[in-house]
């Protein structure tokens, strides 16, 4: 008996040892035969044909077949946890700015210029064979902005240009990342319930329904995402302070992080401020908001807006574009069912970019893929499919005949498409960029938990419990009362019934 137990444990241990080696064998064997590329991207974040198109391009350029394994993630946090724990064996990732910062500081990313040096001999060989690979679309190789919108690079440089990891390494994010898609945070609203005047007057307050629009009460959706909802609360408080509204202002006093009064902080500073005072104020605002909204979502907001289950949604620009297009359109009055509004006083600009992690194996394919994504045609295809704006320069796209033909094919007017402010907002200092919160993230999550669970146990719940207890009490009490009443006139029979109950218990 003991022996068998030992064997079982041995076998189990053997399994544990064997499993990783088996999977290691799997990856090693791929070195020969067709080339492989492992891409790790957001869900629904690329034009469907793009992967196949690139495989064909790779074959055309190098003469070798390529097999792309495309996996997806749904939040930055899931992806980061996987990459930081070393579980993601991939060649390319497409995270958001603040998680690129975190991965970069953790030393998980490769410098594109170093990789360029590694693949230079092979590129030279291919170019000598008649190819023309310049990788000129990439912004990370130190020769200008490539095909990327210069304004976006201008946002990135001052913020992420010199990241110090505290161990003597200074990183320039622009050398590690090429922007892919970008957008803003704003309010997706139903045009028949929320008026433009309301939005212009109350801005972010619409998400708190401070204008007391009865139709809107309990018909608002927020994002079930810590960073974004915190940003919304901060914008709202900033707005209240600037407009001097009576509720939910920024805290008084001086921020210990910036050595300035809170009221004087810029949007950029506020969005990344994790001072206790701001966290507490945001908690109050978010807790109160809970009583005015329908709930928190990350995926069904678009559908609920189109189906008019809710009338306002805190949304990312791409989701909003997608929803507006899918929603109704009244030809007579030329009005769309849904609209997207970014309060000009404060909002967030975000971007996702391609990075190459240290686990990269196929460096050539990874670099070619990034460069391919920077082509105007790839940019417009992805942008059209996903809804977010491509980071590829507007002017380059406009000048490209294929792009113009593609836009018209999709029933858009070219001028209208590129001049749409929802798609291409003016980039100014009122749009803040999120940065990694570092260790402060934990207190933020705690705050979010408290805000989401509201003011403890709701009173109604205690009422339900009380009613149930009362109900049981009445039934049981009533029974005993009934029995007592029955027993009184028939005192003689009492012994008898006792007897029967005793026997019942014995049997049981």
């Amino acid at each position: 008996m003991k022996k068998s137990a030992v064997t079982i444990i041995l076998i189990a241990l053997l399994c544990c040892v064997l499993l990783p080696t088996l999977s290691a064998c799997d990856t090693a064997s791929t070195a020969s035969g067709t080339d492989k590329l492992y891409v790790y991207n957001w869900e629904d974040y690329i034009a469907p044909g793009m992967v196949k198109e690139f495989e064909a391009y790779y074959f055309e350029v190098t003469g070798r077949r390529l097999e792309i394994t495309y996996t997806t993630f749904d939040t930055n946090e899931t992806m980061m946890t996987k990459v930081l724990k070393g579980d993601a064996n991939v060649d390319l990732i497409c995270p958001s700015e603040y998680s690129i910062e975190k991965l970069l500081l953790a030393g998980c990313l490769e410098n594109h210029q170093d990789i360029y040096k590694d693949i230079k001999p092979e590129l030279d060989r291919l170019n000598a064979e008649g190819q023309n690979i310049t990788l000129s679309g990439m912004s990370s190789l130190g020769n200008g902005d490539g095909n990327i919108i210069p304004d976006i690079m201008e946002v990135i440089r001052p913020m992420f240009g010199a990241l110090d990891d505290g161990k003597g390494n200074v990183y320039d994010m622009t050398e590690y990342m090429v922007p892919y898609l970008w957008g803003t945070l704003g309010i997706l609203y139903n045009t028949s319930v929320v008026s433009m005047e309301e939005l212009e007057e109350y801005g972010w307050g619409v998400l708190w329904n401070i204008q007391h629009n009865e139709e809107l009460e309990n018909k608002i959706l927020m994002k079930d995402s810590v960073r974004d909802s915190y940003a919304a609360a901060v914008f709202y408080m900033y707005e209240n302070t600037v407009y001097n509204r009576g509720v939910h202002k920024l805290p008084d006093g001086i921020s210990p992080t910036y050595n300035k009064p809170y009221a004087e902080l810029t949007v950029q500073e506020l969005i990344n401020c994790t001072d206790d005072a701001v966290l507490n104020a945001a908690e109050v605002a978010l807790t109160e908001q809970r009583d005015h909204i329908s709930g928190y979502e990350v995926d069904f907001g678009k559908d609920d807006m189109i189906n008019e289950i809710v009338y306002a949604d805190f949304a990312w620009s791409g989701d909003a574009m997608w929803a507006i297009e899918d929603g109704g359109y009244d030809e007579e009055t030329d009005t769309y069912q849904l609209g997207y509004y970014v309060p000009p006083i404060a909002s967030n600009i975000w971007y996702d970019g391609w990075v190459i992690p240290k686990t990269v194996r196929n460096k050539l394919a990874a670099m070619l893929f990034i460069d391919y994504m920077c082509r105007p045609m790839s940019g417009i295809q992805n942008s059209m499919e996903v809804g977010y704006s491509s980071a590829v320069s507007k002017e380059l796209m406009r000048a490209d005949e294929d792009v113009c033909a593609f836009i018209e094919e999709n029933d858009y007017d070219i001028d209208e498409y590129f001049d749409d402010e929802a798609r291409y907002p003016e980039i100014n200092e009122n749009l803040g960029v999120m940065r990694d919160f570092g260790s402060a993230n934990e207190s933020l999550v705690q705050m979010w938990q408290r805000a989401k669970s509201g003011n403890g146990i709701s009173v109604s719940l205690w009422w339900i419990l009380l009613v149930i207890v009362l109900l049981i009490g009445i039934v049981v009490g009533g029974y005993f009362l009934l029995q007592a009443l029955k027993l009184r006139p028939r005192k003689l029979k009492a012994d008898k019934s006792d007897l029967s109950s005793d026997s019942g218990q014995d049997i049981g």
Binding site: W448, I468, K496, S503, G504
Partner: protein, 267 residues
């Protein structure tokens, strides 16, 4: 001679068939539990720490959420008993009860996520505001069969002669029920309560879907912690949940032994 003894050792006995099961348990139950236990004592840089305990037990948010979950669990279980017991009782009295019970069991074959999404669609179509009420409805709807099944099995297995004997001895209908049927079905009630209470305190998909994320329960809290990479605190929460599961199991077992009713319950 030696070969023979070897062969004798490797005889295909019943025990051999247990080996895959034990292996499975080891790989997918014991090892993950050990991992949770280890994670509970590590900080984000894999150093030994007790801070995770401090974070959990001193923060009002996690304790409130835990309280919420327990309360929802208790309410769901009580409602399930109140609805489930009469149904099981009536069905056990009917000759066609065995067929009718299928009506309660068949929906269990449909994935609970699909059922919950359908419930949500109905609530939205009816214009009911999603919140605590809808969450409790969804929980009761999902776990009611788990209450009815063991109750029905126990109730229908009670020998009718006990009831007849009680009636012969002069007890009226109510007395018969409260003095014979109810005590004899205690084991069914207890297994029903276990089957409902334990899953409800750890549920999270139902609460999230039927309240649009507005009702935040312990399961949601654990999920959020792991999603945010806070493995330590998440592990502690999992352990607390495990303690509650074990505790309720222990209490139920105690009750069951005291009741010492017929152990013919299905579960």
């Amino acid at each position: 001679m030696k070969e023979k003894s070897l062969r004798k050792q490797f005889r295909l006995t019943k025990k051999v068939f247990g080996v895959p099961y034990i292996l499975f348990l080891l790989l997918f139950v014991i090892i993950p539990l050990v991992l949770i236990l280890v994670n509970a004592f590590l900080d984000s840089n894999n150093n030994l720490t007790f801070d995770n305990f401090k974070v959990f037990f001193t923060s009002s948010s996690s304790l409130t959420v835990l309280g919420n979950s327990l309360l929802v669990g208790v309410i769901t279980t009580l409602i399930c008993i109140i609805i489930g017991y009469p149904i099981a009782y009536i069905l056990s009295k009917m000759s066609s009860g065995k067929i009718l019970i299928l009506l309660y069991v068949i929906p269990m074959g449909v994935n609970f996520l699909i059922r919950t999404l359908a419930t949500k669609a109905i609530f939205i179509a009816l214009g009911v505001e999603l919140g605590m009420g809808t969450v409790i409805f969804g929980m009761v709807y999902n776990y009611l069969p788990f209450m009815i099944m063991p109750l029905h099995t126990t109730l229908s297995s009670i020998d009718n002669s006990y009831m007849e004997a009680a009636q012969d001895l002069g007890a009226d209908k109510a007395t018969v029920f409260f003095k014979t049927t109810l005590p004899l079905s205690v084991s069914g009630i207890i297994s029903g309560v276990t089957m409902v209470f334990i899953p409800t305190i750890s549920t999270y998909a139902i609460s999230q879907l039927l309240s649009n994320g507005k009702i935040f329960l312990f399961g949601d809290s654990i999920q959020l912690s792991f999603e945010q990479g806070m493995y330590g605190v998440g592990s502690i929460m999992s352990i607390v949940m495990l303690v509650f599961v074990l505790l309720s199991n222990f209490i139920m077992n105690k009750f069951n032994r005291q009741g010492n009713a017929a152990r013919r319950s299905l579960w």
